[in-house]
């Protein structure tokens, strides 16, 4: 009780110094949280992957398409529940900076495989009926103001020409972590158009998404698919959706690692600042520590004072920093539009923030507490004059 009172009053002794340190911690913990959230956002595709979904692609590269007739052969394999073609479209909406993912899909099987995309029944019916129809995610619709019935013109890059789609449905995510930044339209429409514009590129599929009936057989079925095409013109590589997504993120792993490192550098810097503050504080109070020791207080009491003050400052900065992370991340997500499909502060990010703060609070006090515990009383008292 008395120790707490002393800690509190000592903490408020240099109000400006404490305030600045708390502010520094706030900024560091907030930055750390945002950077961790960026890293999470990067992996959101992999985190959202379902274990019963496999992705089959060319074993050479994602750039090499697969013949559409593979679809029937895959579907015929034992244990396969459904198959859907999907092509990456990469159209430009008005300006190249307006990026969002677009896929041409086998609508019925594909959407059935992704129950986390929630589409109102009447809208789904309208979409299936309209060959030029499109389904867009809620976040995408909000970003560009797409409404059902709107025409969305895309300028083709992989598939040249101008393409007009009519928004027929808007899907919501089953959870806040569901990616609702995507744009889907009919693979059949893409294929028919390509057949007239560039016949040699017709009947080609980017990837097949395969749903297996029995999770425990996923690996076996992956191998069966790849064996099936092992001597064909285009050989395949089948992996779980999660492995596929991680492989995708791997290409940009250097950036993710850099962000991770920066986030910990920020923590390290604030640790140095905190340690300096605590060292300065403890040095100024050496005579007080010596007096307390002369009166009979032990190193434990002095340690309690110093660790307590350090942890109090760390706690203040951290609680503010964590509290601010949520609104700032929200604001950030809105500014970024569809660049990050999912931008949510996760529980593990908050846990990491708290852990870092605890480390900073303790580490900053180690040296001052050790010095205070060791100082000889007569030396410490000498500092009084």
């Amino acid at each position: 009780m008395h120790l707490l009172k002393l800690i509190l009053r000592n903490t408020l002794r240099h109000k400006l110094r404490t305030l600045l340190t708390v502010l520094g911690l706030l900024v560091a913990i907030l930055s750390f949280g945002l950077l961790q959230t960026v890293v999470d956002a990067w992996y959101s595709g992999a985190n959202n992957a379902a274990p019963d979904r496999l992705v089959t692609r060319s074993s050479v590269s994602l750039m090499v398409p697969l013949p559409v007739h593979y679809r029937e052969k895959i579907r015929a394999l034992d244990g396969v529940r459904s198959v859907a073609a999907a092509n990456w479209f990469a159209g430009v909406y008005q300006e190249p900076k307006n990026f969002f993912p677009q896929f041409a899909i086998d609508a019925v099987p594909y959407l059935a495989m992704y129950p986390e995309y929630r589409i109102p029944e009447d809208q789904l019916r309208d979409f299936l009926r309209d060959r030029k129809g499109a389904v867009v995610g809620r976040k995408l619709a909000d970003t560009y103001g797409f409404r059902v019935g709107d025409t969305v013109p895309l300028k083709g890059t992989i598939f040249s020409g101008s393409w007009d789609f009519v928004v027929r449905a808007i899907y919501d995510g089953a959870t806040p972590r569901t990616d609702t930044s995507q744009f889907f339209f009919h693979w059949d429409y893409l294929n028919e158009s390509v057949r007239t514009r560039a016949p040699q590129r017709a009947d080609q599929v980017g990837v097949f998404v395969v749903r297996v009936a029995d999770l425990s057989r996923a690996a076996e079925i992956s191998r069966a698919i790849d064996t099936q095409f092992s001597n064909s013109a285009v050989e395949t590589l089948t992996e779980t959706e999660q492995a596929f997504q991680i492989g995708f993120v791997k290409q940009t792993e250097a950036i993710v690692i850099a962000i991770r490192i920066v986030s910990f550098v920020v923590i390290f810097i604030i640790l140095a600042v905190m340690a300096n503050t605590m060292a300065m504080t403890a040095r100024e109070r050496m005579a007080e520590y010596a007096t307390l020791k002369a009166l009979g207080f032990g190193p434990g009491f002095l340690g309690g004072l110093i660790y307590g003050e350090s942890l109090a400052i760390a706690a203040a900065g951290t609680l503010l920093g964590v509290a601010l992370t949520f609104p700032v991340a929200d604001w950030f997500a809105r500014q970024m539009g569809t660049l990050f499909p999912v931008f949510e502060v996760s529980a593990s990010t908050v846990q990491l923030q708290l852990a870092c703060a605890a480390v900073v609070g303790v580490a900053a006090a180690v040296l001052p507490a050790w010095r205070a515990a060791r100082v000889r009383i007569v030396e410490g008292l000498r500092a009084a004059g």
Binding site: N10, L295, L381, A384
Partner: protein, 227 residues
Amino acid sequence: MPQSELAVSIHHLVKSYHRGGQVVPVLSDITLDIAAGEFVALMGPSGSGKSTLLNLIAGIDRPDSGELRVCGTDIMALNEAELADWRAGHVGFIFQFYNLMPVLTAFENVELPLLLTGLGARDRRERVGVALNMVGLSDRVDHYPSELSGGQQQRVAIARAIITDPEILVADEPTGDLDRVSAEDILGLMERMNQELGKTIIMVTHDPHAAQRARLLKHLDKGVLVD
């Protein structure tokens, strides 16, 4: 004089400091007995070792060799933790610069040593009240040191020194930072502590005026007692 009536018993005490590989002798062969209830003034030129001797008696510094019994305890035999407990029970400190905790009120400063005893809050409050009354600061209970004059701060320090009812009070130039009037005031208070409460007081001072208030005068010169 029988051992039991000696507050301090020193035989052939030696203390030196080591500075940069050199040994600086400070006290050489001090032998001194101080009876319980005595009021001793320790005088001598600057650097003669007065503070060093006082610190050894108070158990906040360690001698090199010799014998040192204080309040019947061979304090050289105690380890750090035992020595800290011993100080808390037997020695009251009065410093030249008062050494009060600036974040604590007069009341809380006086209460501080009692936190090391098992005393309950109510008993503590009562005792602190008596002590502050004794030093004439009943009306300054909630004042912080920065709100008190030097003389008043030293009175708080005296209340803190006697609060655990120790046998010995050590005072290193207790009036060194005070004006004439405040100094007289503090010396009068110390006299009362000696006469009314029977505290053994050992006071280092440069001021012959202050030394006159003591009942016994000891002179140190270059680490040796001269009478």
